[in-house]
């Protein structure tokens, strides 16, 4: 196994949280992972990106120039990083905020996902990140959905465990959407 994914959005969208979660779940499954964040000094609204590299053992570079997959959550990320996705790779584009449909490239798999609307349907606008992570898990199968749920339980403080069902639902909805989108192609 050797996978990498780059995630980008603005601060507050929860990009760093799902990056963390994915890397942690990978380690829980006995594989190796690195999580490398880069973010502005702002608490909200600044750029937030992270790179997760996953391997059976010995992750090499935690930095990736041309990622195998990219999760792009806001217009600026699309503008800056869409062209970097490796040929033959995967781009997940948050179509709620990004008008660009990615038609400038046909050498990769792309899924346009209305993540903000889907999050609201599940019940909270802050679930955008979980929708997106669910979709990525469906595409990559890099870790089991169950492990991510387990990891979330560990990462989330006990007092917030009442939010778990909603987060699980968002993960599932993201995965369902991606499954359908990919099967139509």
């Amino acid at each position: 196994m050797n996978h990498d994914v780059f995630m980008a959005g603005f601060g507050g969208q929860g990009v760093l949280l799902i990056g963390n979660l994915l890397a942690y779940a990978t380690i829980m499954e006995g594989n190796d992972a690195s999580y490398f964040p880069a973010y502005g000094v702002e608490k909200r609204g600044g750029a937030a990106t992270c790179t997760i590299v996953m391997a059976d053992k010995n992750v090499g570079s935690p930095v990736v120039g041309e990622p195998e997959a990219a999760l792009l959550l806001n217009p600026l990320s699309m503008e800056k990083y869409y062209d970097r996705v490796r040929s033959g790779g995967f781009a997940l584009v948050n179509s709620s905020l990004i008008d660009d449909d990615g038609s400038s490239r046909d050498d990769l798999q792309k899924v346009l996902i209305p993540a903000n609307e889907m999050a609201l349907e599940v019940g909270d606008s802050r679930l955008v990140n979980m929708i997106v992570l669910g979709a990525y898990l469906e595409y990559s199968k890099v870790v089991k959905m169950e492990t991510v749920k387990e990891a979330l339980k560990v990462v989330l403080p006990e007092r917030n465990h009442r939010f778990l069902p909603m987060n699980y639902q968002a993960l599932e909805r993201g995965a369902d959407f991606c499954r359908q989108a990919l099967s139509m192609k």
Binding site: S34, F36, P37, S61
Partner: protein
Amino acid sequence: MTKRLFVKGNEAVAMGALEAGCRYYFGYPITPQSDIPEYISRELPKLGGEFIQAESEVASINMLLGASACGARAMTSSSSPGISLKQEGISYMAGSECPGLIVNVCRSGPGLGGIDASQADYFQSVKGGGHGGYHIIVLAPDSVQEMYDMAILGFDLSDRYRVPAMILADAVIGQMKEGLEPHSYVAPDDLETKDWALIGDGKAGEQKIIKSLYLGDGELEAHNNHLHAKYAVMQEKEVRYEGIELDDAKLVVTAYGSTARIAKTAIRLARKEGMKVGLLRPITLFPFPKAAFKQCKRDGQRILCFELNNGQMVEDVRLAVRDVEVDFYGRAPGAGSLPTPEEFLAKIRSRYEA
């Protein structure tokens, strides 16, 4: 499921230090290393230790000198501009033969520079940093696990030689998260008790003095020769490096810390393309693995050095192998300027075909 932890490099180095028996920390916050004092301020009091956020970097390094003179395992941490402020104290520690651990999670400079990763403090770390022509032990971890392991190794080496030890990391190694398998500290057999320490054991007529001021005729020269004799022993016994696929390599890539991690992927990609490329990663930057580089010379290999600066370690590589052509590719540290494996691969390709 395994029991590995998933932590930042900064947390790992703090955990390793506490495991090694460090019970005194003195520091002043600065990005990108503030997770270290954050972790230690929370965990050290539980172990009966003392955490002090000093009024400045200068104060904290002098507190470290004091704790060390009393025989305690103690540490400080900072990032580049803060480490510059500590240089006077480090020179005094070196002169006074006070061991201790100093962690530098480098950011870019000069001056306040920026908060992203840099390897531009190499010269400062290995060539003395402060005044007086001394050396300190310099360790360059390239993973979260090594941050933990080298905090322990740093204390042991520092105590063994009574030479301060520095961990030279950067914002990438400090802030990335990876798996960590902590292990219990076992003190090496050869660590002597610190009978030089000022612990007030009150034996009449026995005076212990820890100082860096030598005014007697010939005293200071002898002291300096004594210090440099220790550096020579370290050069012989304490060199550490990692070699990957060096045996059949026609081109040897060398890099340390975060840059070595990026190079590891670049080398894997190069091997896939059929190029015989290996990696020589210095782990101890002082003492520098000169002999390993000399080996390249005998094997007729060429050398390519990657750094996240405009060329510093490459000078030591060139000194070690004077007749071998050594190429350099570096990037000036600054916002968004991390090199990628693909970028290194392109350099490897052009050098390999040259």
